[in-house]
């Protein structure tokens, strides 16, 4: 006697949880299957929680979700080897509830989210891997087969939310093999410090948090970025670079992280901290062009599995939650109007995504990966030049300011030539418009 559900969700990360919760809340019978020991055990993130995305799923999440600090200040640093030049934005408005972004610790957060999913009525089974999708004679997906005996389970629709490395999507032919140039490998550590230390070091009060986004020479010419987030009594620090670049340079991400941690501006921030967690993960970076087919007869794809990540703005988990929710809503609406889970009907999912910030933002930056990838001057030459310029201007040494300016312009021209700089400006404009 095989089990049958209205929907099966594969994966218990943010996309899977968003989908399973929304479906279960609407009264559908939902089975969620996670291959890790517990929901979130295979997930890694910085991590930042975007309230808006979660509010649309669990409006009162702030009541009991484990949140670290609400972010009141964003710092963007362009780094050279010994210096950085950056902009900070801090606003008191960010301090006023309801807060827009929080730092979270994924292990705790995923546990909470999964509890909500179960309370909503979904059946969650872990330590079980979905090996294959089951199809009927017409090729429609009618269920899944897991790696346990008597492992065939049936459903009207299957939501694939099984992450960046989804072998399932690949085997089913929905997605091609992951290319190194479409993913970044990111590594992170969590360093524990007393919360008073975190607060005094970053000039924040209880409950407030700071986010630092870094780019420049810290990635040794490779396309990538770094981050540092304040949690309640710890700091998350990490670096991510394009896998293709990493393979070419023959560097390990860990080496990169070590060097980042030793940067004279970062080291003091971590001083005295105790490293208690280390993790690495792949992040989809292919952008708009890498998004595969995300719907078909009896199936939908949400989250990293569909490459829904806006790398420029580091938005991944909110896109995961949003696509998971929209997948669920599409299914719920179809059921309500008695429609079948056919490709034609499920196309509505993609239409909704197109209308939303999800696809709109990804489309906006669709050329960025390619541009940055083939123009590593943005990660080396410019950060160097910009830092050196700042140093020159800010050093009072008897040289007059006009001469200094001339020196600066000369250095830029020498490195990039006037023509080159114009070209770079154009590329940036193209990438960001």
């Amino acid at each position: 006697m095989s089990e049958k559900f209205d929907a099966i969700v594969v994966g218990a990360g943010p996309a899977g949880n968003a989908a399973a919760y929304t479906l279960a809340k609407a009264g559908l019978s939902v089975l969620q299957i996670e291959r890790g020991e517990a929901p979130g055990s295979k997930n890694v993130q910085g991590a930042i929680l975007y309230s808006d995305a979660l509010e649309r799923i669990i409006p009162d999440f702030r009541e009991d979700a484990p949140l670290e600090r609400h972010i009141i200040e964003q710092r963007m640093w362009v780094m050279d080897d010994e210096s950085y030049i950056g902009t900070h934005f801090r606003s008191n408005d960010f301090s006023k509830p309801p807060h827009n972004r929080y730092t979270i610790i994924r292990a705790k957060f995923d546990k909470w989210f999964s509890k909500k999913v179960q309370e909503a009525g979904a059946l969650v089974i872990c330590e079980t891997t979905v090996k294959e999708l089951l199809r009927d004679k017409t090729g429609k997906v009618i269920g899944v087969e897991t790696d346990r005996t008597e492992g065939k389970i049936y459903a009207d629709v299957v939501v694939l939310a099984d992450g960046v490395n989804s072998t399932l999507a690949r085997k089913a032919g929905f997605r091609p093999e992951l290319e190194p140039k479409h993913v970044a490998l990111a590594v992170k550590e969590i360093h524990f410090l007393p919360k008073e230390t975190v607060e005094s070091r970053f000039n924040i009060q209880k409950g407030q948090g700071v986010v630092i986004e870094m780019m420049g020479k810290l990635t040794k010419g490779m396309m990538g970025t770094g981050f540092l987030y304040t949690n309640n009594d710890s700091i998350s620090v990490g670096v991510g670079v394009m896998l293709s670049d990493l393979m070419r340079q023959k560097m390990t991400p860990y080496e990169l992280l070590e060097q980042t941690k030793n940067h004279p501006s970062i080291k003091p921030l971590l001083e005295g901290g105790e490293m208690k967690e280390y993790a690495a993960h792949l992040i989809p970076e292919g952008g708009y062009h890498a998004i595969p087919q995300v719907f078909g007869d009896g199936w939908l794809i949400a989250g990293d599995s569909g490459m829904f990540v806006n790398a420029v703005h580091r938005e991944g988990s909110n896109l995961a939650m949003t696509t998971g929710r929209m997948a669920a809503e599409t299914i719920i609406d179809l059921r309500a109007s008695g429609k079948a889970m056919s490709a034609a009907n499920l196309a509505e999912y993609r239409r909704r995504l197109d209308d939303s910030f999800v696809i709109k933002d990804m489309k906006k930056y669709k050329d960025l990966p390619e541009i940055f990838h083939s123009n590593n001057q943005f990660f080396t030459t410019y950060p160097e030049l910009v830092n050196r310029s700042a140093y020159t201007m800010l050093t009072v040494d008897g040289v007059d300011k006009r001469s200094k300016e001339k020196e600066i312009f000369a250095s830029f021209r020498e490195q990039r030539s006037l023509f080159g700089m114009l070209g770079d400006a154009f590329k940036l404009w193209r990438a960001f418009r």
Partner: protein
Amino acid sequence: MHSVVCIKQVPDSAQIRVHPVTNTIMRQGVPAIINPYDLFALEEALRLKDRFGGKVTVITMGPPQAETALRKALSFGADDAILITDKAFAGADTLATSYALAAALRKLNELTPVDLVFTGKQTIDGDTAQVGPGIAKRLELQLLTYVSRIVELDLDQRTIVVERRAEGGVQVLKSSTPCLITMLEGTNQMRFGTMPDMFRAARYELQQWDRTAAGIDDVTKIGLKGSPTIVSKVFTPTPRAKKAEMITVENGKPADLAVELIARITKSFPTVEKELAKRA
């Protein structure tokens, strides 16, 4: 046939570390697991069920979060799970623990007669191996410890033959059921639960017994009150007064380092010189 397996949820001690400066125990995010030794006991009980039919009940005395350990046990194929939980159990040592579990087992036996009680050899957080023998004594069950193999089980005659690891050899013992068996590690391998087992574990309505439901009326016998042993202090091992004398030689050659080392040892440790002379 009805087997009961007593399990315990423990912190995964392989992951517990001590902060080198403050000496605090870092249990941050250390996952709780089923005491690994208990898995051998559970697997043995499940094998008996495969052979003889009947059912396997798992019980544990612990805080509410011990529920996850019970569900895990169910996912391997156990049929029923009972969580014995009560604030009054806090601070229990092995004597108080065996009292509580024995009471619960008596209650369980009233509901469905018990043929065999299994426990793991010891826990990785307590290491005492005392609860199994304690339960057996209180329930007046024959105690068979360090069992490496169940050779024969006759449910009609109510006899059992086991192999038991002893010093220098294996005892083959014949005894009667019901009895209590503590399983030796490495005797079997836990199976991979079937999908139906996973479903059942996820859907199972866990039974929770407080001390009254477990049939305990004498609170002086449980928890801290019922524990003769008390932890009077916890501390780090004192560092040795002297650190190692480092051997170095000018040219840094291994051959010379070796010779220098041997010279020093034999000079300072005549017992070692004597030992070497014995082997010359």
